[in-house]
Symmetry: C2
Subunit: 174 residues, 2 copies
């Protein structure tokens, strides 16, 4: 999927692709494939790959203090740019901006009660959306999958807060 | 070139491509074509396009204070990732790391005296290099041109310092 999208990786990057099932053991339905290009104390860039109908489950990037040598962090801001395929993104917003659950274009894959953000954004190649810090969001690829470039402030994955208490972001990464 | 590299742009982005000749009036030799995806107070992402043998002239991103609402900025750090074509990158370094000018794989296009950085890095698709703040650098595409993804801390182009005093980054942008 990456090469179809024109993304060239080195052999080391191909070998190092992070496969995340979030500890739910159902990678086909709930998971993300990640190539990290750079993640330092100033910025981060990744490619995210979702298989057809695969979902990245709901989470937020909270502010924190005194962690990993960082005194104070306002939480991760991130821009998702769809490179290939299509993605349905759901973001926490005011009630007036949220689409009622029964009208969502796609549905959560399982454990529906842990999907609450309802502002619906549909991204096709060339389209992008920026998610503020500490804002619940989840996203699901269309049936052909998706390649998403993520540009952001630094990533501290271990600080992510998932709505589903069963999820373990770090242990669920291979 | 962007579409050959698998980069999809919206119509607005295509219309908004920034063409920079740096005020030297010789775009074919000295210039850069830029698509800015995002540039906010926390991070920046762009695609840079160079035509065949086109050069981005030598400059650095210095620290500054009290500018554009920013109290103190350590200077822009940037990661260049080659997506397509090839690029020859020259970065300021210790003498022991610099290649003598007469051995550079490519030569500056004009006004050679304003090209001084000599640590040579050759990037092919999938390869990347990170340039520290306040470090002189310039780069030139191979004969087939290059598409380079740039991930960085925020860009304040107006603060860039070019080695060639004739260059005007802002007035030389269309």
């Amino acid at each position: 999927m990456l090469s179809d999208a024109g993304v060239v990786l080195t052999a080391a990057e191909r070998d190092g692709i992070e496969v995340v099932d979030y500890g739910l053991g159902n990678l086909e339905a709930v998971g993300t494939e990640i190539v990290v290009y750079v993640n330092d104390d100033r910025y981060c860039a990744k490619e995210l790959v979702l298989f057809g109908d695969q979902t990245c489950p709901e989470h937020r990037h909270p502010p924190f203090e005194d962690h990993a040598g960082v005194e104070s962090y306002p939480g991760k801001r991130e821009t998702f740019r769809c490179r290939a395929g299509e993605v349905y993104l759901y973001v926490e917003a005011d009630d007036s901006e949220e689409t009622p659950r029964e009208e969502w274009a796609v549905q959560p894959p399982m454990r529906d009660e842990y999907y609450t953000a309802g502002k619906e954004i549909h991204l096709e190649p060339g389209e992008q959306y920026t998610i503020p810090p500490d804002t619940r969001h989840w996203f699901k690829a269309g049936e052909a999958g998706a390649v998403i470039s993520e540009f952001s402030s630094p990533s501290y994955d271990e600080k992510d807060v998932f709505t589903d208490p069963k999820i373990d972001r770090i242990a669920g990464s291979y």
